[in-house]
Amino acid sequence: MPIKSLDELIKIRESAMKKVNLRESGEDAEPMIELMVGMATCGIAAGARATLTALLDEIEAQSLENIRVVQVGCLGYCHSEPIVQVNMPGEEPMIYGNVDEKRAREIIQKHIIEKKFLDSAILNKTYNKA
């Protein structure tokens, strides 16, 4: 169907952007929120994939921008998999354990949007990095 005005074009652009948003990573100067999902064997076995897809789904549902979800290897907390680490620009990273689908959505709602921590799910960092 023909597009007949700039406004119409911009509307179509907005929906088209959802599809390509994740390609903007690393290209722009704005700091991004990063959600790291531990997806080593232990994480996958504990259901990290469902966690990951729930995070993506919630981000889309809330139309959040400047946020990306990346999968990483084992974070070392196999006892509490699935693990999600939240990196907010300029803040200490926060690590959450036992993140099932429900808790994943909570992370988005509480931590990212309301800026409140999910106290019951926080894991203490047990090591220092070189």
Binding site: I3, S5, R13, A16, K19, V20, S25, T53, Q71, G73
Partner: protein
């Protein structure tokens, strides 16, 4: 589950496709199917990333990891390790040649660090077959803005103020060209996109059409509106099948969404584009010859004036712009003339795409701001000379340009500076030569090319280039005399002055510039029958170092013409009169005793 969490971008430029990119796409899809990730990970075929020397290239979003030299056998590992477990496959990462470190992000690589992509902005970022991806990156917004808010004269004013100049080689101000067409009387006008890229080693226009065809379509529509035209023609060489296919797909999509056709954006403006295939004659890149060819006549140039802006296609006012010029238009409209004119040098604004080829490590497509030095392009972006040999010269401007030596490597590149050092911008081919390149041979190669491509209409070009080629051929065969050099210098200005079109007027340039900077090589060929670079087979003579020869007889056995004398444990000697300079003895010798010419 409908959330896509990762995009695997596979380069679909001609370079990577011929290196097997299509197989990689199929293999990746098959592997994703196997692990049932096909719904959440998309495999996307994009345009050229530019890093052709390291192709096929695969980039993974959102992790922003850049893989090089990928083979279809690597697909399983990429999927199982990177996609499933989040662990980048380090053996496929690019190794920085200086620090020897593996780099995973493309912006860490020196190849990309100094580049600034305007014309290539979407190449490697979007799927060229999907118009919505182009729209997502502000596609057709410039056209909509222009049609709804600006008059043709206002558009021309923006382009003039931006200082955009023709990227096909001549460097004529684009805004002025548009203005001339707009002001020419007549209701019927045309706009033509020159995609007849013919310089040896140049592939920037092809890559833009393959990677971002909509940017050219959008810009043509803007240009048509500004010049008062309703019909556009893309003249593209038939040797670019992939670019043609993607362009035609894009034109179809643009028509469906109303970016081409009648009453575009409810403005009353009508415009459509037709694709014309050229048979691949170099001279058809010259605008008058191009118009002749579009009209169905022989591709021969005609005298200017009248210029095409007054009397072009079918005798009507016509604008002819190059692909890369067009690709710059939408960003100028969206970001403004001041943004564009803030990039580059005083008289050359914006960026230029170069096709980096020859004896350089990182062969590929680079886009740099005007004013970048050749040293930065060849050594920082290009990574230096293959095999760590010495740098001898770089040829810009293809067969119309000249060579640039190390003395001028620090010249900031723009239209004028290149002319001042005896070369030209041209369409952007950049052929790097190492110290084992014979400059007489290079001149001969280019003359051979122009001689082949001369249309034959005017005598200076038809016969003049032929005579020059013959002289150069004689010199490389050891039959040259000092008089020949004088003849070359006499012929060159005659051809330049008397030829009808740009092809003939610039054809002697490679000879003149090599004569200027490498006269000693010409003299070696003529006076001493000697080719320093060892490239001219007829002049090359092998000899044996008596200090190193132990008399093993291997060379004598290997010699196909039996010109090596000597018995076991005696020093061997080559008879230069019989030697055919095949080099077999040098390869046979285990003691490095054969001295190469």
């Amino acid at each position: 589950m409908d959330g896509v969490r990762s995009h695997i971008m596979v380069c679909g430029g001609t370079g990577c496709i011929s290196a097997g990119a299509e197989d990689i796409i199929d293999a990746l899809k098959a592997e994703l199917d196997k692990v049932e990730y096909d719904q959440e990970v998309n495999v996307i075929r994009t345009g050229c990333f530019g890093f052709c020397g390291q192709g096929p290239v695969v980039k993974i979003h959102p992790d922003n990891v850049f893989y090089v030299k990928v083979k279809k056998e690597d697909a399983a590992e990429i999927v199982n390790e990177h996609i499933v477990k989040g662990r980048p496959v380090s053996r496929l990462l690019y190794t920085d040649p200086e620090s020897n470190k593996k780099l995973d992000k493309h912006h860490q690589m020196s190849f990309y660090q100094k580049q600034y992509r305007i014309a290539l902005r979407n190449c490697g970022l979007i799927n060229p077959d999907d118009v919505y991806e182009y729209i997502a990156f502000r596609g057709y917004e410039a056209l909509a803005t222009v049609l709804q808010e600006q008059t043709p004269l206002q558009v021309i004013e923006v382009i003039k103020k931006a200082g955009l100049r023709g990227r096909g080689g001549g460097g004529f101000p684009t805004g002025l060209k548009w203005e001339l067409t707009l002001k020419s009387p007549g209701a019927e006008k045309y706009i033509i996109c020159n995609a007849d890229e013919g310089d040896p080693g140049a592939f920037m226009d092809r890559s833009i059409l393959e990677g971002d065809p909509h940017s050219v379509i959008e810009a043509m529509a803007i240009g048509a509106y500004a010049t008062g035209s309703n019909k556009g023609i893309v003249y593209i060489r038939a040797e670019y099948p992939l670019a043609i296919k993607r362009l035609q797909t894009a034109i179809g999509q643009a028509r469906e969404l109303g970016f081409l056709g009648k009453d575009i954006f409810n403005s009353g403006f009508c415009f459509d584009i037709e694709v014309k295939l050229g048979a691949g004659a170099f001279v058809c890149g010259e605008e008058t010859a191009l118009i002749q060819s579009v009209e169905g006549s022989r591709g021969e140039p005609v005298r200017k004036p009248p210029f095409p802006s007054e009397s072009g296609y079918l005798g009507k006012p016509t604008t002819v712009n190059n692909v890369e010029t067009f690709a710059n238009i939408p960003p100028i409209i969206l970001k403004g003339a001041d943004w564009f004119s803030g990039i580059g040098t005083e008289n050359s604004k914006g960026t230029k795409v170069f096709a980096l080829a020859g004896n350089v490590k990182n062969v590929g497509l680079v886009e740099v701001p005007m004013g970048t030095t050749l040293r930065e392009i060849i050594f920082d972006i290009g990574g230096g000379i293959v095999g760590n040999k010495g740098f001898k010269a770089v040829q810009t401007g293809g067969p119309s340009g000249g060579v640039i030596t190390s003395a001028d490597l620090d010249t900031p590149i723009d239209y004028e500076s290149l002319k001042n050092i005896g070369s030209m911008m041209g369409s952007g081919g950049m052929i790097v030569m190492d110290d084992e390149t014979c400059m007489v041979n290079i001149a001969k190669f280019y003359l051979g090319f122009t001689q082949d491509e001369s249309c034959g209409k005017c005598t200076p070009c038809r016969i003049g280039t032929k005579r020059m080629y013959e002289i150069l051929d004689n010199i490389t065969k050891g039959k040259g005399t000092e008089e020949d050099l004088a003849h070359l210098e006499e012929l060159a200005p005659m051809i330049k002055d008397a030829a009808l079109c740009g092809l003939g007027q610039t054809a002697p340039n490679p000879v003149l510039s090599t004569l200027e900077y490498f006269r000693n090589e010409y003299e070696d060929h003529v006076l001493h029958k000697y080719c320093t670079a060892g490239e001219c087979k007829a002049l090359a003579k092998y000899s044996i170092d008596p200090e190193k020869c132990i008399g093993c007889t291997l060379c004598a056995k290997a010699c196909p013409v039996h010109c090596i004398q000597g018995a076991v444990k005696q020093i061997h000697v080559i008879d230069p009169a019989k030697c055919i300079s095949c080099g077999v003895c040098a390869r046979a010798c285990k003691f490095d005793a054969v001295i190469k010419p």
